[in-house]
Amino acid sequence: MSIIEVNHLTKYYGKARGIVDVSFNVEEGEIFGFIGPNGAGKSTTIRLFLSLIYPTKGDAKIFGKDCIKFGPEIRQEIGYLPSEVFYYEGMKVLDLLKYSASFYKKDCTKRLYELADLMELDLKRRIDDLSYGNKKKVGIVQGLLHQPKLIVLDEPTAGLDPLMQQKFFNLIREENKKGATVFFSSHILGEVQRMCNRVAIIKEGSIINIQDIKTLQKDNYKKIQISAIEIDEKRFEFDGVSKLEKVNGTLRFFYKGDINLLTRLISDIEISDVTIEDLTLEEIFMHYYE
């Protein structure tokens, strides 16, 4: 079953573009990455899911139900962690979390304390005394305490130290194993690469590619580096080669095409070293944006 179905979703803020004709599905149990630079429309998409804003055209269904018509019902099972966390300043952490829990039908008390313990959160402190990172932890506990079926993360790791990030990712993986679907929006590609099964790449409001992370890396360009005492870069100027550059006798380029063609070419010359590797998500990403 598709947990999220997005059909031709379009949002304009007056004349300013939010997203244009976005369509994709997120299947049950997936960790779905959603990547793109600032202003590409990641947050707009998420805010549409939560009916914080209303679409200009198209619709989104979550758990098979229209996310505007059945908004409150759907949100019983969504955990949302916004990119910037803001809470009622005068409140104590525990009061805020209890207030948050009071909206859900389930009893969340036990999970609340478990999560706070795991994230090393001091429940007695006031929200306005917390550092940015600690506020983020409140956000994490607040978003997960009702054990949601869909976890929506909008650039979740900003402000967390590497140790906490690790804990957070483990927590998300655990929830995923228990059956939660995760929608993970980020511009930090390393973490998406580590966490996600599939990614959608959004650029200027439109989806430009949706693929399995592994196929995205496999079916894409290879990064090739050849070192030789004497090498003529002209040999490698053929179809499928891009970004050819020669630095200190080392030839670097991206290649997409029949790999045999390339290995035959290489075997013709005397080389001292060769590496052929997959592109990192970052390089693929940069490629889409150039």
Partner: protein, 267 residues
């Protein structure tokens, strides 16, 4: 119920401060009332020496200084201004505070309908305003009797005057709420409520000064003019109906606007 309780706690401090201030105001003015009533001729001479426009602006024409209620009518105008500022503060901040403090993302991502959020918040604000209202009732009766030197006064007029508070408060609460939803973002509530309250107050005062009827007709300070109520022991019913109509339209409009509102993101 959880939103209602949360809102009530948030407003509690401000409600206590407003109630205490208005109560103090009534106490102080009533405590000096006896000195006014003993020197009536002196006072009337002093009043006559003021320009007439000034007296109109402060609603002090037709004032009967010789009775305790005549004097209370003036104090009640000050109370009205305070009550109006309090009510419009609540109105302007009611839903806009979630956006200006960026907590809307938290609240609206919860499984709760926007109409329910609005209703809870509205009821909570009305509760706070009603408590202030009750304090004004108690203070008025208490301090009038305390400084009245046992003289008689018309209880019916006083009750009518105090009964007008509820509609008066609802006017500013609902209009403030509607305006806050019509504008894109309310960064700070105070300028908005000051503009609304003193704008409408001046409209009434100006109307009196230049004798123009059309302007003051939209001002609740005119609808619930204390001197009129005290003099006639009745409301100016058509004007009261204008207030009620404005309240109904504002509340209905606010629900419609909020249900459709695109919540701006924090960053």
């Amino acid at each position: 119920m959880n939103i209602y309780k949360h809102e009530f706690k948030t407003n509690l401090k401000s409600m206590v401060i407003w109630s205490a201030s208005i109560s103090c105001l009534i106490f102080i003015y009533m405590s000096i009332s006896s000195s006014f009533s003993t020197n009536l001729t002196l006072l009337n001479n002093m009043m006559a020496s003021f320009p007439k426009e000034l007296l109109i602006a402060f609603g002090m024409t037709n004032m009967d200084w010789s009775t305790i209620l005549g004097y209370f009518g003036l104090i009640f105008l000050f109370c009205q201004i305070c009550l109006a500022i309090q009510a419009s503060n609540y109105g302007f901040s009611l839903v806009s505070i979630e956006e200006s403090e960026f907590t809307a993302d938290f609240l609206l991502a919860k499984p709760v309908r926007r109409t329910k959020i609005m209703t809870s918040k509205l009821l909570s604000a009305i509760t706070s305003l009603t408590i202030t209202n009750i304090i004004v009732w108690i203070s008025s009766f208490l301090f009038i009797n305390m400084f009245n030197n046992g003289k008689e006064y018309q209880i019916k007029s006083l009750v009518l005057l105090l009964l007008s508070i509820t509609v008066f408060q609802l006017f500013f609460l609902s209009v403030g709420m509607l305006i806050s939803l019509l504008v894109k973002r309310v960064r700070s509530v105070t300028p908005f409520s000051m503009a609304l309250v003193f704008g409408l107050y001046i409209l009434n005062a100006f109307g009196g000064m230049i004798g123009e009827q059309s302007l003051e007709i939209i001002s609740p300070f005119k609808h619930f003019d204390s001197q009129y109520i005290l003099k006639n022991a009745a409301y100016d019913l058509p004007l009261v109906l204008i207030s009620v109509t404005v309240i109904v339209i504002s509340v209905a409009g606010s629900y419609v606007l909020y249900a459709r509102r695109n919540i701006p993101s924090a960053v």
